[in-house]
Amino acid sequence: MGKPTDLVQGTLDLLILKTVSLEPKHGWAIAKRIQQISNEVLQVQQGSLYPALHRLEQKAWIKAKWAETETGRQAKFYSLTAAGRAQLEKEAATWSRLSGAINLVVEST
């Protein structure tokens, strides 16, 4: 199982929160979505995705609901809670500050 790019520690939560912020999604769709948007650069391993989803649910940042997919199957859909939205904003702000800072350092010389 190759890992094209290892996710920076702690960013998976941010990616998940961002992905489910638009509409409720199930785990498969979240993984696919992250892969597509990042132009196949970011590959989310199932081994990290599902524990992360459960951890976020337990922190009440996302909530889960069993619903039918367009193909008529039962799947567990995750959506953002109010607390999750606040957390997303916080983490997004932290991320852009951090990545901006790293950019500055990397591109300076």
Binding site: Q46, Y50, P51, Q58, K59, A60, A75
Partner: protein, 908 residues
């Protein structure tokens, strides 16, 4: 954080686990299916698509575990697994479990029973508001005068302290008395508490019915004929009659109005001596016709126990310190008074002025003081037994851990962590000790009742409510004991079990047993032998103490001796009526069938009481209390009844009535005050703080030294006066020497007394041996329990030693076979095993000896007639223990000697 929601979600996953597990699987399967669908779309065959998806997904079982772990309930699941498994393991070995459970139940039960006895008799605080703020205010040092005990002060001193101190938020005082109650046609003697008006308000004790005694009741002596009943007395004696308030009952023939019933559970401030009624202290003259002290305001008569309440946040020491100047000014004043100068010599002034105030915890009393040490001792003893039981169990568990090595190896091989194995074993230990604690608690409840009955006077024991639901402290003790024991006996085997070597254990090992922590087990046996020696030495010291006390006795024959107490003055009899009552009673009882002689004594003997007074003569004068002789006033038949012979002179006769004063003294008195002279015809006087006296009492007889206060004492100097001429004649202790077993005539005697005078109740009717038996109850309890524990300990140690040696021999069968094949004799082999046995015992004995020697000082005060390091006891105990353990070790040694070399070698 939204923690309520989180907790809710967590709980939901915990309690709907099946559904949760199913959902996890569904979620994972959905993902897989989507991947398969995608793979098929990409052109794979369905079969390949499935495998590819699964490859990509990885270990789904592991993932599900991870997801469950996220919810944080993994440990609950695992612990409940361990619990279920533990129960199965224990049930599979019913014999082992029963032995372990029984041992623990006995150990924990004995400890709990002892602890709750200690708690109830010694540790418990009074059931009042903020009992920890309550203090007894007493004066230390010599009092120079008459005293009702070390914790008492005089009434005027109490008033001075109460009215002038700034250290306490309030003070009250009390005096215990025995009164005769008459209600309807019943009469009985009951214990009463005479209390100051501030007693109830400061204690914070309310009335269940009516009102309590209040400060207004303190105003004028004799003016408040009112009484408050204790709740339990109201329930038993008056059947809980709510209309009792306002009614009149007779106390000592005085009409008293019942004004209320105190709150439930409150029986006065002296734990163990429950008061039935509370009377304003202003009624002292009526309640105690023998002595006053209230109205005559004598400062040299200390009789009230004074209590204070500390101000919130103030501790004992600073309060005590701030009371010293006040006490000193009171003493300065007292020392000027003629009362003081009359009862002392000029040399006594300085020490008296150095007397200080001392504050004691308010729940203290004499009973507690005397029982504290023996009870702590018993708690320590039972603790040692529990420790020993733990060592034994640890040994058993170690042996079992060896037997279960394969099981652990299998678990380790399929991925269990060593921590998990330790936890499994600890959980099993905890299951055992929890079950042991439950059974032990039931045992302790039963034992507790019996112990309290042995320990307290019958009526006091009845008042102690031993609740089947243990209170918080006892429960905390049990849980603590349970956790501690399971750790002590479970941890070692658990850690050892987890160190199992997988490869070694999984290989077939027929015959060869692993070392199995044998050195650990030897050490445990050594500890057991040491503890057993300690307990055996203690047991024989205590048993011999009891035997010494019993066999030495008081110095006169105690069989066929019956005693009781009467107090006709409590029935309102005048002095003349009382004297006539005694004279008639003396004759009446002498004519009773089965009675050979009758003796009257104002003071009870061997009950811890003493009337002491300074004496003066031609060439000696007053002395502090510990040097004062012990006095009593007795009837003509007293010495003959007790079986005390006359050494010189004569005893009193009925004709010895005033105005001349006579005394019979003992040999110690004669030696002390009339050395080198014939004591007959010598004169002495009793120091009186009210008036100067001259030596006007003539010695007419001398008796040998006999014990007076208790069996432990060296007989003090004693002097006896004719009872009808004395000052203490109002109540009497009567002794009857009988021809038959005194218990046979007890009922007859009661009936005879009722016919003689139905208004004077007979109190404390018992045989002398019963009275002595009760006074030795602490010694008997300590001796019998320590003997039982010592025996039990030896048994446990012997079993432990046998187990270890049997295992060693079994493990070395092959080695022994080789030795014998090479020419070793049976005796060589037996000797080899026995050397090990003796080494074990020896090491244990050495440790035990040093422990016993070190601890000897702690029990010195509990012993009588022998040294705490008595060599005979030490050596005897060691020999007994060595013989018992040695013979237990001899069995495996013999077995080793009988090993057949051919079979032992072929076995492998």
């Amino acid at each position: 954080m939204q923690w309520p929601q989180q907790v809710w979600m967590r709980l939901r996953t915990l309690f709907r686990r099946n559904r949760f597990t199913e959902q996890l699987s569904n979620e994972v399967r959905f993902h897989l299916d989507e991947q398969i669908a995608e793979n098929i779309t990409a052109g794979m065959s369905p079969e390949d698509a499935r495998y590819a998806a699964m490859r990509l997904f990885g270990n789904s079982t592991w993932l599900k575990e991870e997801m469950r772990a996220t919810w944080g309930w993994l440990w609950v699941e695992q612990v409940s697994q361990d619990l279920r498994y533990g129960v199965r393991v224990l049930l599979r070995n019913p014999l082992f479990s029963a032995v372990a459970l029984g041992t623990l139940a006995l150990g924990i039960g004995a400890n709990t029973a002892m602890f709750s006895l200690l708690d109830q008799v010694v540790l418990r605080l009074l059931p009042v508001r903020h009992p920890e703020q309550l203090v007894i205010v007493r004066e230390t040092g010599n009092h120079y005068g008459n005293s009702f005990g070390p914790n008492t002060i005089s009434w005027p001193m109490f008033e001075d302290l109460r009215d002038n101190n700034r250290a306490l938020s309030g003070m009250f005082c009390r005096f215990p008395a025995t009164v005769t109650i008459g209600y309807g046609d019943r009469a009985a003697q009951i214990s009463a508490e005479l209390v100051s008006g501030s007693y109830f308000p400061i204690l914070g004790v309310e009335a269940t019915l009516g009102r309590t005694i209040v400060p207004d009741d303190d105003a004028v002596p004799d003016s408040q004929p009112v009484v408050v009943l204790s709740y339990s007395f109201w329930r038993t004696y008056f059947d809980g009659d709510r209309k009792i308030v306002g009614r009149t009952i007779a106390l000592n023939s005085h009409a008293m109005t019942v004004i209320g019933v105190a709150q439930p559970g409150f029986d006065g401030v002296e734990l163990g001596v429950p008061a039935k009624v509370f009377v304003p202290i202003m009624m002292k003259t009526e309640m105690t016709p023998h002595s006053d002290g209230l109205k005559d305001r004598r400062r040299r008569l200390s009789w009230v126990t004074a209590y204070g309440r500390l101000k919130p946040g103030v501790s004992l020491e600073p309060a005590q310190l701030s009371l010293q100047p006040l006490m000193h000014s009171i003493l300065e004043m007292e020392v000027q008074q003629p009362e003081f100068t009359r009862s002392t010599t000029p040399a006594d002034r300085e020490p008296f002025l150095r007397n200080r105030v001392e504050l004691l915890p308010g729940s203290e009393n004499d009973l507690r003081e005397s029982m504290r040490r023996p009870l702590w001792l018993l708690v320590a003893l039972t603790g040692a037994v529990l420790l020993l039981a733990c060592a034994n169990l640890a040994n058993l568990l170690l042996a079992r851990a060896t037997a279960r090595e394969r099981e652990f190896a299998v678990r380790l091989a399929i991925g269990a962590g060593r921590v998990r194995i330790v936890r499994q074993l600890l959980i099993e230990s905890m299951l055992l000790s929890a079950a042991g604690a439950v059974v032990g608690l039931a045992l302790a409840f039963l034992a507790g009742r019996v112990l309290l009955r042995i320990y307290l006077p019958a009526d006091a024991a009845a008042e102690f409510v031993v609740s089947p639901i243990p209170d918080g402290r006892v429960l905390a003790f049990v849980v603590g004991a349970m956790l501690l024991t399971s750790l002590v006996f479970g941890l070692l085997p658990a850690v050892r079990g987890s160190r199992t070597e997988i490869t070694v254990s999984l290989k077939d090992r027929s015959g060869a047993l692993s070392a199995g922590g044998i050195s650990l087990r030897r050490m445990l046996v050594g500890i057991q032998v040491a503890l057993s020696l300690l307990l055996l030495v203690g047991a024989s010291l205590f048993v011999r103490t009891l035997r010494n006390l019993e066999s030495l006795g008081p110095g006169f024959p105690t069989d066929h001796l019956l005693t009781f107490r009467i107090d006709p003055s409590l029935n309102g009899y005048s002095d003349e009526q009382t004297k006539s009552f005694y004279q008639r009673l003396d004759i009446n009882l002498q004519n009773m069938p089965g009675v050979t002689s009758v003796g009257f004594s104002a003071m009870p003997i061997l009950k811890g009481y003493a009337w002491q007074n300074a004496v003066l003569g031609k060439d000696f004068e007053g002395a502090p209390i510990e040097e004062q002789p012990v006095l009593s006033e007795v009837g003509p038949g007293y010495f003959a009844t007790l079986g005390i012979p006359i050494v010189a002179g004569r005893v009193f006769t009925a004709q010895d009535v005033g105005p001349a004063k006579y005394a019979v003294i003992n040999e110690s008195f004669a030696r002390k005050y009339f050395p080198g002279r014939n004591p007959i015809g010598q004169r002495f006087g009793l120091v009186d703080d009210m008036e100067p006296v001259s030596p006007d009492i003539e010695v007419i007889g001398v008796i040998p030294d006999r014990k007076y206060r208790d069996l432990r004492e060296t007989p003090p100097a004693q002097a006896y006066f004719p009872y009808l001429e004395g000052v203490h004649f109002r109540f009497m202790n009567i002794y009857l020497r009988t021809q038959v077993d005194p218990r046979q005539i007890e009922n007859e005697l009661r009936e005879r007394m009722r016919q003689f005078d139905p208004h004077v109740p007979v109190d404390e009717l018992q045989t002398m041996n019963e009275q002595i038996g009760f006074s030795l109850r602490t010694e008997r309890l300590v001796a019998s329990l320590s003997a039982v524990f010592g025996g039990l300990a030896t048994l446990l140690a012997v079993i432990g030693l046998y187990g270890v040696m049997a295992y060693t021999v079994m493990r070395r069968t092959r080695e022994i076979g080789i030795r014998m094949a090479l020419g070793a004799l049976h005796s060589n082999v037996i000797g080899m095993v026995m050397r090990e046995v003796l080494l074990l015992i020896g090491a244990g004995l050495v440790v035990g000896f040093s422990l016993a020697l070190a601890l000897a000082n702690l029990i010195r005060s509990q012993l009588y007639g022998l040294n705490a390091r008595d060599p005979l006891t030490f050596i005897g105990s060691a020999i007994v223990l060595a013989l018992a353990a040695g013979s237990a070790g001899f069995i495996p040694a013999l077995r080793a000697g009988r090993v057949d070399p051919m079979r032992a070698l072929r076995h492998e």
